[in-house]
Amino acid sequence: MHPVLTTTLAIGGVGAACGGALAMAAKFLAVHEDPRIEETANLLPGANCGGCAYAGCADYAKAIILDDAEINLCAPGGESTLCALAAMMGVEASAAEKKVAIVLCGGDSDKAPRKFAYNGIADCTAANSTGAGDKKCAYGCLGYGSCSRACPTGAIEISKGLATIHPELCIGCGACVKTCPRKLIHMIPASRTMHILCSSKDKGPIVKKACSVGCIGCTKCTKMVEDEAITMQGPLAIVDYTKDYTNEETIEACPGKCIKKVPAVAKAMAGRQGSTVD
């Protein structure tokens, strides 16, 4: 036989055999994956931020299709993703409340003094484990910016030793929550405007010594609000964020000046025309 023919036959034969084997395998060993999973994954932003508590966008897509997961968990995707998902799944876009992070502490360096000068590395966890933190208040924000460094959008500003989150920049991924050694950062619905910016579980007199804007546990606010929108948890008043409730009088009346009105995201957005944040 001519060598060219032999070679062609040999390599062609090997190729054909491999191709045939693959075709057979694809036919007999096929795993039927729901095609909707891929479609759903394509609708998600693909940021893989993990804000939905799944391992990534593909994992969340799988959970939506197979485990009937809620379709409104994607914070970066926001309303547009939700509507697209709702259209695909044939359900109504429900309670698409965007979540934002908030630091529940209002004590900057003017209001909450330090008990010693900390000269260690600028990291909250390190500062917190040095003499239980350099702030007089054992629950307040240390202000070394661990949360700010974790934020993918630069939404956390540190000024005067206090972290403040700009809700209009926050995408609600929750990356900062884990970094706070004092667990001051909470994820709340973006439309909420009334906040108690204190997390101190100390009793009134101790709070007063450590901070001028702390919750002293007087329970005045809990009596003024309706529907138990603020409840006492030990000596600390806590806003129930499941209820959309704001009462100007309560905010004015707080003797500790720790209840603050922070504009909701929608309003903040209106003031930021031309903002790049979607």
Partner: protein, 197 residues
């Protein structure tokens, strides 16, 4: 028996595929950032290299050699034949694994297609022919070579994880320091030279 032990020591330490023969550098640098992914890659490489050396040995012996089914010496076609066989073999394993052991597929899944283009797999197939190994030796060599690859990858990943935390100077951060580390690691493995011929 001694021969097999020597093959294993030779492939794992003395002529380590990554650090001495410089094969399989791309996954070595690519998936060495985290130990989890490195371990996944190691598992996939061990599996594919061992199996591929068996398959390619059979192809080489029964199709390409002068006393194979065509009675013609087709060794000059071995590169293309091996590429063909390895690529489809990896694909086949991928499909079969997805069906039969989905858990293993979940762990190794994304690494399998990457191995298709891993030159260490190709290298082991060609070396098997060059060194004129018999079937058993070829399989043992393939397995040992992949063990050597895994050893190098795991050591390197451990080093990189530590180095990233050690805050190197800005000009050296990332790939630069990784390449220097790889070079030093390779030098260290040169110390085994001459242990097995």
């Amino acid at each position: 028996m001694t021969e097999y032990v020597l093959i294993i020591i030779g492939a794992v330490l003395v002529n380590n595929f990554v650090l001495t023969r410089f094969l399989g550098i791309c996954p070595f640098l690519g998936v060495s950032k985290k130990l989890d992914t490195a371990l996944g890659m190691c598992g996939a490489v061990i599996f594919v290299m061992t199996a591929a050396s068996a398959v390619t040995w059979l192809i080489s012996r029964f199709i390409l050699s002068a006393d194979g089914i065509f009675y013609t010496d087709l060794q000059y076609m071995q590169t293309i034949a091996f590429i063909l066989v390895i690529a489809s073999f990896v694909q086949l394993v991928d499909i079969a694994m997805k069906k039969i052991v989905p858990a293993l597929h979940g762990a190794l899944g994304i690494f399998l297609p990457l191995i298709t283009t891993n030159c260490a797999v190709m290298g082991v197939a060609i070396l098997n022919v060059q060194l004129k190994y018999n079937f058993m030796k070829a399989v043992v060599f393939g397995f040992a070579a992949s063990l050597g690859f895994s050893l190098a990858l795991i050591i390197f990943t451990g080093l990189r994880e530590k180095i990233d935390r050690a805050n190197p100077p800005k000009a050296f951060q990332g790939v630069a320091i990784a390449l220097i580390t790889a070079g030093l690691l390779s030098l260290a493995f040169m110390g085994f030279a001459g242990l097995v011929k």
